[in-house]
Symmetry: C2
Subunit: 322 residues, 2 copies
């Protein structure tokens, strides 16, 4: 068991290094201002969960890692497009331990940098050799859903009564589909049969859901030093997180009083921590995260892999601290 | 001659109406906030030059108007994506006679509205029946070039010595390629042979170049009421227009003194008018516009059309007042 853990850590690092090597020169020829800002964004070392999941989904099903690298690059670029634009919208000033683009430069530069990361992601897809059109069409759906999910997220800020269903639909669009896209496209790159492709997409959708609820949880229970990003915008912008929606579902509308109080964000976060603990919402949330990862594992159990380290990926994600 | 002019006016109106009819319900299902802002942008009646050019290029070569409608919609949406984001960058507050999105709502909403128009444009391409992958790949190039062109435009604001070559390269990316895309994709929708496709693209590139120089010219010699958009941002942001680059080429660096003076934008525009007149730059610019439209006509002369109203399109564009 211990040895397998060590092995997986090494495998994970190998995949990450392979990705870093390939993303290294993603934009070297073009206007200097955009090369500078785009490279600033992409060189910030995130966890690279999405490209690793894409590549591992491909190799787990018998494909070569090289078969999925363009998809991996495209998805990570698309993800970073959303980060740069979302940071403008939420006025967040810290991301991956460094200032956000609109904070370091200005809003216009950040708008254009996001746009550039988007075209770069589409451009990366042009290099794909097999199933290119199918992959591009799924990718277009991802851009649609991530934009619409963000629009709902923004709309929910000014609404009080958001149901868990509405919340789940929103995060499915904003986060879930893109993580589902990783495992889905990874399986297409491996030339998996259609049934397996669908299972792999569903597996990714579960992971995506769990991942977003974890994010919501950590925005309350982690801290800026560990997360390396601003954490108070959720509270400041009145974001409808899993825990807020759960409180509302349980008719615990006093959570709204905490959000609406005149206290500063840090104090509100403290109050929310106590509140979620007292009402059992903290425990219910942890339970939901575990249940969702468990669903993902169950889907994996039905797929015939050549190499199976995706259960380990789930274990790695369930234990993530940022 | 007079009758042909009347006929063309009617044809133009028919194409415009066909487009308006089809763009009418481009976004009815999704988050209300984005449906509202996207429809606000798209319902502002612009000239619709790009979709009309796409559709007429298709029918002129024997295709049906319906064959090119998805391309026409996609290009107009892409164009409006650039307008919404560019207006944020240039802090313009008027467009098509109505407030810009960041002016009417806020910057975050404008960022997301631009992003939505972009995915909607990609989404429109999914409906294409023939040559879809080829069209999507050209479209991805257009997104790349329009973003890079905008980046150069932004970069040139803080540079003094921009050559006419650099200017032409920049507008070729920012404006030319997308207008070239209209006639190019229109010809693909008509199933034209490869040689004709290339000629049609080159024709559009010339039109695009002439169109941008006209825009530069009108920003100085027209007025806000006629143009229905803010006109002082070029001067305020120190944009390198055709006339500025021509002055610099002619070693007339005193144009920089006008731009750098402490006068308000309106007075600067007045000074520039006098200056361009005195130095002959105004006349040289008109000559360049006419020459470029003439090049476009010459390319048209080499193509065998089923119906030829593209010369009339050129005449219409050369006489445009906004």
């Amino acid at each position: 068991m211990r040895e397998s853990k060590l092995n997986f850590k090494k495998v994970l690092l190998d995949y990450k290094n392979f990705f870093e090597l390939n993303i290294n020169d993603f934009y070297i020829d073009g206007p200097k201002n955009m090369i500078e800002t785009s490279n600033f964004v992409m060189s910030a070392k995130g966890k690279r969960v999405r490209p690793i999941l894409s590549m591992m989904s491909c190799t787990a099903l018998g494909g070569k890692i090289e078969d999925s690298i363009d998809v991996a690059i495209a998805i990570e670029l698309l993800h970073n497009f959303t980060l740069v634009h979302d940071d403008i919208m939420d006025d967040d000033n810290l991301r991956h331990g460094q200032p956000t683009v609109h904070e370091k430069w200005d809003i216009g530069t950040a708008v254009l940098t996001g746009d550039s990361l988007l075209w770069l992601s589409l451009h990366a897809l042009k290099n794909i050799k097999k199933n290119r059109e199918k992959i591009i069409l799924s990718f277009i759906d991802a851009i649609k859903l991530v934009c619409e999910g963000q629009a709902y997220d923004k709309m929910f800020e000014s609404k009080e009564n958001i149901t868990l269903d509405e919340y789940e639909q929103m995060i499915g669009m904003k986060t879930g589909y893109m993580i589902g896209l990783c495992s889905h496209l990874g399986s297409i790159c491996a030339d998996a049969d259609l049934g397996t492709q669908i299972k792999m997409q569903n597996y990714g959708l579960e992971i995506g859901k769990a991942y977003q609820i974890q994010d919501d949880y950590m925005e309350i229970y982690s801290n800026q030093e560990v997360m390396k990003k601003s954490l108070n915008s959720d509270v400041e912008l009145n974001k409808k997180t899993y825990m807020i929606c759960l409180a509302i579902k349980n008719r615990k509308f006093d959570v709204i009083d905490i959000l609406k109080s005149k206290k500063c964000s840090l104090e509100k976060i403290k109050d929310l921590r106590n509140y979620f603990e007292k009402t059992g919402i903290k425990q219910q949330t942890i339970k939901e995260i575990n249940k969702t990862f468990n669903n993902a594992n169950k889907i994996l159990d039905t797929i015939k892999f050549k190499v199976n380290y995706l259960h380990e990926v789930n274990r790695y994600l369930i234990n993530r601290k940022y």
